[in-house]
């Protein structure tokens, strides 16, 4: 089913088109491209590993909740606390709920969630698949006529793609709650007033773009972790490298994507 996957074999007596290093970069890019093509081919083809997708969603989503809760809550408090002096200078401390909601919904929650997911989930996927590759578990699936790509990669990428947006929405709520406690303590703002200001400040575009962004972040984190783990080699050293480079690459890509998304969203905002 799908693309026939043979274990990574070194190309024999390769003739280098350019320099050896440049050639490797192009080959790697081609491999990444094929990995993506394979994902989009296999995601729509049965068998659908629903049970495994649910299990992975639990691993990615539910297991990340404690860390996300703590981080989101603290960010809400700290951001509010740090913003207050600047706003107070202009007598605009009452604008704090608006400022906090815009910052959290548009940028902080998606980015913080993505970074935590890259660190916790991305490294986990990279290490897990890497160790499965090294201990021949992926080969064992292949020889028992089970498509390892479908079972291991598709399920994990789907889980991260759908759970990172869910976690981001949760981070928004927890962050706003943390900010509310700080605002309430200092400005004695009521719960209703605070949340009325919060929702007045944000538009549909803010929420929509934030959710779309987190889908992209989740997809990136899943794909990077799976790619690094699936093609890891060189024994236990390779497993460590897969876990490490999953986190570094995913974080780097998330920031690049955030930058690009910002430009696109600003275009929409200007329309």
């Amino acid at each position: 089913m799908g693309v026939k996957q043979r274990s990574a074999e070194p190309e024999r007596r390769r003739r280098y088109v350019t320099t050896r290093r440049l050639d490797r970069i192009f080959l790697e890019l081609h491999k990444i491209y094929l990995f993506h093509v394979r994902f989009f081919k296999e995601v729509f083809v049965p068998p659908y590993e629903i049970k495994e997708v649910i299990r992975q969603c639990y691993e990615v989503g539910v297991r990340s909740l404690p860390l996300i809760s703590l981080t989101g809550f603290i960010i809400g408090i700290v951001f509010t606390n740090q913003s207050r002096p600047s706003l107070s200078e202009f007598g605009a401390a009452s604008w704090l709920p608006s400022l906090v909601s815009i910052a959290i919904v548009r940028a902080l929650a998606p980015l913080v969630t993505a970074i935590i997911a890259a660190g916790r989930v991305g490294s986990n996927i990279g290490a897990e698949l890497g160790s499965m590759r090294v201990t021949e578990q992926i080969d064992a699936m292949e020889v028992s006529a089970t498509n390892p790509f479908n079972f291991l990669v598709v399920t994990r990428v789907l889980a991260t793609t759908f759970m990172v947006p869910a976690l981001s929405i949760y981070t928004v709520l927890v962050g706003l709650l943390g900010a509310y406690l700080n605002v309430h303590q200092n400005e004695l703002t009521s719960f209703t007033t605070y949340f009325t200001q919060v929702f007045e400040a944000i538009s549909f575009l803010d929420i929509f773009s934030s959710i779309i962004k987190t889908f992209i972040f989740g997809f990136t984190i899943g794909m990077v972790g799976c790619y690094k783990g699936y093609y890891s080699s060189k024994g236990t050293e390779g497993v460590g490298k897969a876990a490490n480079s999953s986190v570094v690459t995913a974080m780097f890509l998330v920031f690049i994507e955030e930058l690009l998304a910002l430009q696109v969203i600003n275009l929409f905002r200007a329309m």
Binding site: K4, R6, R12, T135, E136, S144, T146
Partner: protein, 259 residues
């Protein structure tokens, strides 16, 4: 050291695996340099050779995990590298592969490891039938009591047995064993050897056993071949293979039995 009895069930008219002129290289290192091999129905064929001589590469090519550079590999009448994915998967259901390190799925229990291929390839089976099949193979390898254990809780020998059980559950016609006794103590080696013979008798399989353990080779092999310089240089019974004057063959024998 027990010598295997002559197996009357070998059908020399029927080749289940046929390899001709097989070549495989990694970068500039040529591992297999034109290998020819036949495996007959019901036969246990032992492939001997030093580490790094391409024994595992050979069975990975047979299982379709690696592709050959040149030559023909026919398994149950089908050329492996010419099959599409679906055809290859169909063929793989008839070929069991027991890995050197067992390759058990370490996030699943023993029961789930055995259930994994059944859920995907025996969809018509009810839960009760699956349960029965799992208990049958666990009984066949003598490890009924380990069903709910995790692979990390098993000993090396037990992991090997469960690995074999997992391949048996799909009732393969051919078994490929990669170093079945590597890293095991002598008593467990004897148990694994007797399990390999038991599998041949009870499940009527043909098998290729990759090993450099001569005790294992002698106990389970109906025929042996020795891989030297990327080709099969010696072939026959244990005595025929080791009656050679070739220093490398003598060294191999001496290391196993004289030292």
């Amino acid at each position: 050291m027990s010598l295997k009895k002559t197996n009357p069930n070998i059908n020399r008219e029927n080749k289940v695996i046929e390899i001709r002129g097989l070549k495989k290289a990694f970068d500039d290192f040529e591992v297999l340099k034109g290998v020819n091999l036949d495996l007959f129905q019901g036969e246990n064929l032992v492939v001997l050779g030093r580490s790094g001589t391409g024994k595992s590469v050979l069975i990975k090519i047979i299982a379709g995990l690696l592709s050959p550079d040149e030559g023909m590999v026919k398994v149950l009448g089908k050329e492996v590298d010419k099959l599409n994915s679906k055809e290859l998967d169909k063929l793989r259901l008839k070929v069991g592969f027991s890995f050197q390190n067992s390759a058990l799925y370490d996030s699943m229990t023993v029961y789930e490891n055995l259930e994994f291929p059944l859920i995907r390839h025996a969809k018509s089976m009810t839960r009760a039938e699956r349960d029965q099949a799992i208990h049958f193979v666990l009984d066949a390898v003598g490890l009924l009591q380990t069903a709910n254990q995790m692979p990390s809780e098993l000993s090396g020998g037990q992991r090997k047995r469960i690995g074999i059980a997992r391949t048996l559950i799909l009732k393969p016609e051919i078994m490929l064993y990669d170093e079945p006794t590597a890293g095991l103590d002598p008593i467990t080696c004897i148990e694994i050897n007797s399990l390999i013979n038991d599998v041949q008798e009870r499940f009527n399989t043909s098998a290729i056993i990759i090993t450099h353990d001569l005790t294992c080779a002698r106990s389970v092999g109906d025929r042996m071949v020795m891989l030297l310089d990327g080709q099969f240089k010696r072939e026959g019974t244990f005595e025929e293979v080791f009656s050679s004057d070739d220093e490398r063959v003598k060294m191999f024998y001496d290391y196993n039995f004289v030292n």
